[in-house]
């Protein structure tokens, strides 16, 4: 296909040409950034969580007398164990994605105190007996806690529990002791110290770090017997029994503690709630992209249709002097390809600029380069699809038009 006649024809229609190019450029810039934002959010929602989430439910029991927590907890655990279909029961103070975060900072030398800048910020998970089966964790190294390690271990309104053992996640182990086994090593926060007895696969924190993926996994598990903070009962059953188990668990706890506030949730609903905002933002972005691309496509259809209408006579003449239908079709296709190309080149520059601005203003990450050709490809395709209708109509112009007065 000869490009020269197309270019010289476009030069005669400078303003419409510029408008199409500008529209494609803007669409490309918005598309690249929107898709980048979508992918970032989807990635966050898909962060792995080494926990068996399917059959897990949690029931929180708040507002009972803290002095009775010891006997209450034993009674509640026994009541929950008696529910048919329950495979494991435990009590913990928080769960992943609940936003209930107890953070602390630890170092790896005996002189580390909580205020040390070089310490690592870690989420504390206070857990009761059999938490590993209830939560469905995966042990990577070492062991879980012995029964004796739970006895007499409490927090008692202190900042840290009075135990000396800890289980940490894989990610935290790699951060603190890269390339080494964490077993037997010690976490310090003056005057407390904790020896690592086990490493579990990466479980998410109650609240995620958007800027750094691996920080979302810095967790330390501490064995705690009865304590006022231990108010989340976790129950495991088969996924089929899950909803019934949840309902019965709530009823049982409410019956034994009528003055307490009892709230039950499946882990699935905890996850959905945590990601609800992110999820809705993703759908808004998808919707805007779809509508924007439709508008761009219709704009191309409208403008090309007029172009075709305006040039009916010229098309007729070209057909009369020997151009085939395919030639005419190709002419408009090539024209659109040239316009799209100019548009996406400008659009990629704009997309990069918008990304730079958003990086500065909203701490967004740098857009990886491959989003740019992706956006370009999308707009090329949309341009070709949009132009095919009017181009087909142009190709259908009969040569006899050349002989008719306009």
């Amino acid at each position: 296909m000869e490009i020269r006649p197309i270019v010289s024809s476009l030069k005669k229609h400078r303003i419409p040409t510029l408008l199409i190019v500008l529209q494609i450029a803007l669409a490309c810039a918005v598309l690249c950034n929107a898709v980048f934002m979508i992918s970032g959010r989807v990635k966050q929602m898909r962060l792995s969580n080494a926990m068996d989430e399917q059959g897990l439910v949690s029931v929180s029991l708040q507002g009972t007398d803290p002095k009775l927590i010891g006997s209450d907890t034993q009674r509640n655990l026994a009541a929950l164990r008696s529910i048919a279909g329950v495979q494991a029961v435990s009590v913990v103070h928080t769960l992943p994605l609940t936003n209930n975060n107890w953070g602390w900072s630890f170092g790896i030398t005996p002189d580390s105190s909580v205020t040390d800048q070089k310490n690592t910020n870690v989420t504390l998970y206070f857990v009761g007996q059999d938490f590993q089966s209830a939560m469905g964790l995966q042990l990577r190294e070492g062991r879980y806690f012995n029964d004796s390690e739970y006895v007499d271990n409490a927090i008692n309104n202190a900042a840290l529990p009075n135990t000396h053992v800890v289980i940490i996640t894989d990610a935290l182990s790699k951060q603190l002791w890269p390339g080494q086994s964490a077993l037997g090593k010690t976490l310090y926060s003056k005057p407390n110290y904790y020896t690592v007895v086990g490493v579990v696969a990466d479980v998410l924190r109650p609240r995620l770090w958007t800027s750094n993926e691996s920080k979302s996994y810095y967790n330390a598990f501490f064995p705690v017997g009865a304590d006022d903070v231990m108010r989340n009962y976790v129950l495991r059953s088969t996924p089929a029994d899950r909803d019934r188990v949840l309902q019965q668990a709530v009823e049982k706890l409410q019956a034994t503690s009528p003055q307490a506030v009892v709230k039950g949730a499946t882990f699935q609903s905890i996850r959905d709630k945590y990601y609800a905002d992110t999820n809705s933002m993703v759908w808004i972005l998808v919707l805007v992209c779809a509508v924007m691309l439709a508008v761009t496509a219709f704009g191309i259809v409208g403008l090309t249709s007029f172009w075709v209408g305006q040039r009916r006579r010229q098309i007729g003449i070209r057909r009369a002097v020997g151009a085939t239908r395919a030639d005419i079709l190709n002419y408009f296709r090539t024209e659109n390809f040239l316009l799209s190309s100019a548009g996406v080149v400008l659009g990629m520059v704009m997309a990069y600029g918008v990304n730079l601005y958003l990086m500065k203003q909203y701490e967004l990450d740098r857009m990886p380069w491959y989003y740019l050709p992706f956006g370009a490809l999308a707009l090329w395709l949309i341009g070709q699809v949009a132009v095919s209708g009017p181009a087909m109509r142009a190709a259908a112009v009969p040569p006899v038009v050349a002989t008719q007065p306009t």
């Binding site: 918005v30 905002d277 999820n279 704009g299």
Partner: protein
């Protein structure tokens, strides 16, 4: 003359129904999206207390250790320790001052079949209500003496009063909170500042319903109520006695009525920090005193997603306008002959220009009306989102007018280029070509 142009414009628009519909829908989509996001953004970044925000200031000091401190750059923590808050309170250097933290309050419904539930609450000091202009329906707040005597009394919100007492005057009655009886001394009128500015860094939500109960700080503490958020700046072994722990958990607001008072308070605050450094309690002498709106922008209360959505919507509107320009232009170029005839018959350039601008304005108004419908739909969609602020998303009169302004400006900008191209058409070649 304008009537004639309107007639011409309507005829022209009806001649190409699909194209006209395309232009109107395109413009409407752009306007609908931008008005929806703009309404949400306006709602989120609004002034929660327009009549008083200029006189309310948030005070901060910095008890952190020296490590990591860059003088003039490190910002003080956003909440305050009990010791500092009480020192500033007792100095009485502002017209009014209050320290506050958020709590969960277990409300006993007093109905045998209902279970208790948790409501949002604030533990604060006597000046809170006058400081923030919180309006009372019945009764009043408590006094500084009540603060000191740890009186078990409470101020409740209108919605809690409606639920518990059917909206009747409940002052003097008791309400059971956390398994204890509290005497109600006041019932607020509806009060839910958006954003809930006083709670932005205390661990609560920023938008949505107001708090249900307000109780004296020392009373709440004597009943072991803990704050929603606690940050410690040194090793700590006892989190129950937060009053003496090296931990921050209170927000401190003061009312300062003029610039002299602000300058004086700033000096007082700096002096306090220096004095604490001299005493060895502080290592950093940094302080901060921001007015309400500066504090909100410092805290970046408006969610980034809302801002990004607004950018996105305006980018989209720009695309829609460019699209409309292209379509109007294509249309007008096809009508060169008609323009030539009209010019030859005596129409001036200005006449042609006006004619085309009228046509564009009609598209704009139609796009605006449809855009308004889309914005109402869009806001309905926002209300069904999970965000905290969802229930607040409504179109107000101002945004209603803004919609038409945006529609008209957008369409006139879109019409400008085609109208200019139309009026510079030279009549002679067009007539000759026929």
């Amino acid at each position: 003359m304008l009537g004639y142009y309107l007639d011409l414009a309507v005829r022209s628009l009806r001649r190409n129904k699909i194209l006209t519909a395309l232009m109107i829908v395109t413009l409407a989509l752009g306007i609908g999206a931008s008005i929806t996001t703009l309404t949400v953004l306006k709602l989120l970044s609004g002034d929660p207390l327009p009549e008083k925000s200029a006189n309310l200031f948030y005070a901060r000091v910095d008890p952190n250790p020296l490590e990591g401190y860059v003088p003039g750059q490190t910002k003080p923590d956003s909440i305050m320790s009990y010791t500092d808050a009480m020192n500033l309170m007792h100095a009485h250097r502002a017209v009014r001052q209050a320290a506050m933290a958020l709590i969960d309050a277990k409300i006993d419904t007093q109905h045998p079949n209902d279970h208790p539930y948790f409501a949002d609450g604030v533990m604060t000091t006597a000046d809170f209500f006058a400081l923030f202009n919180a309006p009372f329906q019945y009764g009043s707040g408590w006094t500084a003496d009540d603060d000191e005597s740890r009186a078990t009394l409470v101020v409740i919100a209108d919605f809690l009063n409606n639920k518990m007492f059917g909206g009747a005057n409940s002052v003097g009655k008791t309400i059971r909170i956390d398994d204890r009886d509290f005497r109600i001394v006041g019932v607020l009128k509806h009060w839910a500042p958006q954003p809930r500015f006083y709670a932005t860094d205390l661990g609560g939500h920023d938008y949505g319903d107001g708090d249900a109960v307000f109780m004296p700080l020392k009373t709440a503490r004597s009943l072991d109520k803990g704050p929603q958020d606690t940050e410690c700046y040194a090793s700590v072994s006892d989190l129950q006695h937060l009053e003496s722990a090296p931990c921050e958990w209170l927000g401190m607001w003061v009312q300062l009525d003029d610039s002299t008072a602000v300058a004086n308070y700033r000096m007082f605050l700096d002096g306090y920090a220096k004095q604490q450094v001299a005493l060895g309690r502080f290592k950093r002498s940094e302080t901060s005193l921001l007015d309400l709106m500066s504090w909100l922008s410092d805290q970046q209360v408006v969610p980034n997603d809302a801002k990004l959505q607004t950018y996105l919507a305006f980018g989209f509107l720009l695309i829609c306008v460019v699209n409309t320009v292209g379509l109007l232009l294509a249309k007008c170029l096809r009508r060169s002959r008609e323009i030539g005839v009209r010019r030859a018959l005596g129409a001036t350039r200005r006449d042609i220009f006006t004619q085309f601008m009228v046509e564009a304005a009609i598209v704009g108004v139609a796009g605006g009306v449809l855009g308004l419908v889309l914005a109402v739909l869009g806001l309905w969609g926002v209300r069904h989102q999970p965000a905290q602020y969802a229930s607040l998303a409504h179109l107000d009169v101002e945004m209603f007018l803004v919609t038409f302004a945006v529609a008209l400006v957008a369409s006139l900008i879109a019409g400008l280029l085609p109208a200019w191209r139309a009026c510079v058409v030279a009549p002679a070649p067009q007539l000759k070509a026929a």
